[in-house]
């Protein structure tokens, strides 16, 4: 089983999308919250980009025989 310490790409991407959307939906953006969101967004973008550089896919052969 793969270690679960790796970030979940789908979840991180979704969070980044939400933050980006938040910036557009706020009419009067609160500077303090904006900065917090911006930092989080950049952090996510950085992690996602790092994850993108993973080249390998792992193939696991299932030992089970499927013949009846």
């Amino acid at each position: 089983m793969p270690a679960k310490k790796k970030i979940n790409f789908a979840k991180a991407f979704e969070e980044l999308e939400e933050i980006t959307q938040w910036f557009d939906s706020e009419e009067n953006l609160d500077l303090d919250k904006g900065l917090k969101q911006f930092e989080r967004g950049l952090e996510l973008a950085g992690e996602l980009k790092k994850k993108l550089s993973e080249v390998e896919n792992k193939v696991e052969s299932i030992k089970e025989k499927f013949a009846g």
Binding site: M1, P2, K6, N8, F9, A10, F13, L16, E17, I19, T20, F23, D24, L29, L31, G34, L35, Q37, F38, E39, G41, L42, E43, A45, G46, L48, K49, K50, K51, L52, S53, E54, V55, E56, N57, K58, V59, E60, S61, I62, E64, F66, A67, G68
Partner: protein, 402 residues
Amino acid sequence: MDPHVLSVAQYLDLVNQALRQVPSDQTVVEGEVSDFRIAQGKWVSFDLKDEQEEAVLKCFMTTWQLKVQIESGMRVQVKGYPKVYERFGSFKMNVQEVAPVGEGALRRAYELLKKKMEAEGLFDVSRKRSLSRFPERIGLITSRDAAAYGDFLRILNNRWGGVVVEHAHVHVQGRQAVKEIVGAFQYFNALSESERPDALVLTRGGGGLEDLHAFNDEGVARAIFSSSIPVVCAVGHERDESLADFVADVRASTPSNAAERVVPSRSDVSYEIETMARHMEERMRDHIEMRSRVIERATGSISFILERQKERFRAAHERLMVAGEDWLPLIRSELEGLARVLRQVDPKRVLARGYSIVTVNGAVVADASKVGVGQEVGVQLAAGSFDAQVTRVDGKGQQKLV
């Protein structure tokens, strides 16, 4: 010697015993179907005829044994046990398996099964599920000897990384194919939630109807239909179609196309991430610039907050330096621009150059006519502040003491 006297039942029992001597396991009977009928939705009966000689074999089976669609006029091979049915005194073959013979019959059986499944709603677009955009585990059902296996993995590796591909090796044609494919679907669907793949890919190269029989098998189609994991099916070349294709949630044209459907491309996603980051940054900058103009007017007490914001930027900036991706310098330079804007509007920097800010009751005074002689004002310097009394305004007021 007196003949044995047997009851009818006893006699038929004897005949049936004798019929068991027929090597049924190793025998298939080929002929043309006629008078095909299904009674009460369960009992299937038809005659198997020779075209040349006048010979008829009455056949009987249940709908559960009937894995393919049969109709009168179709050429088939049947396998089963001969038996005399006591109640009707009729000789019939108890059919275990029936298979169409020849391209024409196969084509016809395929069309009939397709029509039946379509009517049942197995191909309904409304039940098709979408795939998760960023799968972590993919179940691959194909033969490791098939070209499809290599094609799929090659394109998968070109596009995306970090995925665990669980490969279930199955025959994609031949006698074992159906059982193994159905078994693989059962295996994946029986896995616990955490081990379960995000998508299943069933694939093989192209071929004729005979080669594709497993992908046109009702059992395989139903296994796809009832899979709780979304299924991508890819058979051969663009033109090939199979029932498995129609039932699957996503129909890919080739094994390579299956890989394209199941994972996104790195470059697309990379671009998307950059665009989002830049968009956030632009929105942030717009707001900071807007705020800066407000701050410029208010000055004084705001400088503390401004200082904190700058600190936050510096910290974010430093983290970006550490991340050090080639797309980051762009955002980094943008951030530096922002910091510069903030520095320029920071009243403390202005004060450091020898200027001071005069306030009356906390409000900044920018116009001498707004203060009167004798009024007390606050003066803020780069270091410290003091209060003072106005003695003259625009040269008018108390005499200058020499």
